[in-house]
Symmetry: C2
Subunit: 377 residues, 2 copies
């Protein structure tokens, strides 16, 4: 199901092709996040025009609303949201541990209260896999314990042990026809735990492996380290997915570290505009009479049709079209970077591409501040 087409000699970067029940995904790939069954503000046609190959859905959110009864009646998630292309579903583990109020962690799952109305719910390996089977996603994720990056070594070990045990339970569950299941490796920045977790999961023979417990508030160097200590234990012939990451510059660096798949809410969550020259706040007064597109070289619908001045006006007066166009541009930027990365690896120019990208990319103020803070420690 996963074909490795080319490996970069200068790094661990690779180009692959993942064949799913609903189509082929070229990797490295950026997956758009459609948590509640909609990639924020975008419609399926726009997503396709932006080069989106695969989107994410979320077990926790879809289970709560609209509920499985409705998605089952619709004939599955692809049908319900009218996205006939590949879908990956997250298991809900991350949401249970971050959004919900946990009542009790039990042997076979978690009893928690819905973040929405406080109703008592239970999600474990069996439930999460059952929901994903009914959603009919092309790739289902195991139900894991995703601890905060501030966990004590003891807590981290407990989470890893639970993750390994639950992964085994997930592995035994029935699947939708053609559905792949990916294991999730936890362990924070503890190399021993990451290795142990990875080996246990690989022994279970999943269709792919994800690095979890990143993008949970840790500083960038810790995130990179978590990937670096985990990657050597992930089978080279299977797809590798770093969950919830990151900025375009981080994505390029993670590709160089051997990661194939990414998802991130950045492009559709924030009302900021990514450009290679740094993120700009389009609402800033400096753009009020700036009649250039968000990014000169961008081929997206927003950049082909609208100026910064107009988009700034739309955001200022609260017009939805403004938010829509930011989502369009930002998503296109992430997708296009992955297209360029694939081309560079295939052409044998990835080392150059990576160097140029890092040299020209201006990170956001937030990333710069975080880096400065980390350097001060």
């Amino acid at each position: 199901m996963f074909e490795l087409l080319k490996t970069d000699p200068s790094s661990k970067a690779r180009v692959g092709r993942l064949t799913t029940a609903h189509g082929v995904v070229d990797t490295p790939v950026f997956m758009s996040v459609g948590t509640q069954g909609s990639v924020k503000a975008l419609d399926p046609r726009e997503l396709r025009e932006l080069g989106t190959q695969i989107i994410l859905g979320n077990t926790y959110h879809l289970h709560i609303r609209p509920g499985m009864e409705i998605i089952r009646a619709a004939g599955g998630l692809h049908q319900f949201i009218n996205w006939p292309d590949p879908i990956l579903t997250d298991s809900g583990g991350f949401q249970v541990f971050s959004l919900a109020t946990i009542r009790k962690i039990q042997a076979h799952g978690v009893e928690f209260r819905s973040h929405l109305d406080g109703s008592l719910l239970f999600l474990g390996p069996k439930e999460a896999m059952g929901i994903q089977r009914e959603l009919g996603s092309d790739i289902a994720m195991v139900f894991d314990d995703c601890p905060p990056h501030t966990s004590t070594p003891r807590e981290m070990r407990a989470a890893v042990e639970r993750t390994m045990r639950w992964a085994r339970e997930c592995r035994e569950q029935p699947r939708a026809p053609g559905q792949m299941v990916f294991g999730i490796i936890q362990g924070g920045i503890d190399a021993t735990l990451r290795e142990e977790c990875a080996k246990a999961l690989v022994a279970l023979e999943f269709d792919g492996y994800a690095i979890g417990g990143v993008s949970v508030g840790e500083p960038e160097p810790e995130m990179m380290r978590a990937v670096e200590i985990t990657e050597p234990f992930m089978p080279a012939k299977q797809p590798r997915y770093a969950m919830g990451l990151g900025t375009p510059a981080q994505l390029v660096e993670l590709v160089a570290r051997g990661v194939d798949m990414f998802d991130c809410v950045l492009p559709t969550r924030v009302a900021r505009n990514g450009t290679r020259k740094g993120s700009i706040s389009i609402k800033a007064g400096a753009f009020k009479a700036d009649f250039r597109p968000i990014e000169e070289s961008c081929d997206c619908f927003a950049c082909r049709n609208f100026t910064r001045a107009y988009l700034r006006h739309l955001l200022n007066v609260g017009e939805i079209l403004g938010l829509r166009m930011l989502s369009v541009h930002n998503t296109r930027m992430f997708v296009k970077v992955m297209e360029e990365v694939r081309a560079a690896i295939l052409n044998g120019t990835f080392a150059e591409y990576r160097r140029d990208f890092a040299a020209n990319y201006v990170p956001t103020q937030k990333v710069l501040l975080a880096r400065a803070a980390a350097a001060d420690r």
Copy 2:
């Protein structure tokens, strides 16, 4: 500039063709409202796909935000918002009298406070025409005094006299190249006032005439009466525009009374769905597992792609795509009714079309209640 192509023998309905500086508009026409330089939630491509021929902009709102300096620098409103097709701009009179806090009505305009930040502004015939000249709209509207429908006869007369005087002042202002100017007839449901106002404006030789002072909270019979008593004094060879109206059923009836142009915020303001069988609240629980499109016979993007159940879910969880698709469907419905009306008039079947439309159309609960209340009086 206005060519009358066919007149219906059974009513006052007519088909015409209005040639503007930015293209031809087939009438009767429904114009989408883009008050702040954006038709709510829709992009120009979608508008074109929906059959939109002409959109509205608003002098008052655009003058406040983003301000004329920016639109001037952009090269006019068409350029600023990237809508190369016809635009009609309202003069701001309606907004000054309904939205703003009026400080003083003076001889040559109104001193008022912005509804946004309370800043003191002045708008009169000269200012409104100057702004519309800079906006570069294809059709500019005169600056009028639009009184509430509850005005006393004395207030109504004062408003009509002011409207006539200001219309003369507007007529004398320079225009953008190729820009048409329409007069606005006021007078409430006073036949004498309407006649007097219409005759005074027609003497000034505008490019078209509008019926103002409708859609200001009056019951439907009063609105119909205002149109009926005004229309006979509007030149048959020029376009006639009923401002701010109405429901699809009202539009068909107003076409039968000789009106050519309409604008209404209904399709993009309300999160309700128009169908020929009545407006449905898509958020209702009844639709949670309804996998039909909003309207079976509709050819819009929303109806071709999504089910009621999915749109209900999107609205329930607050996803923008839900609002977008309601705007798409509702706008298409209004535009399509006008397409059908034009075809029926040209085919000589308008009497039948009108009868069938009224027989099959189920008005909203709100309209039904208002009718019952009016009947009780």
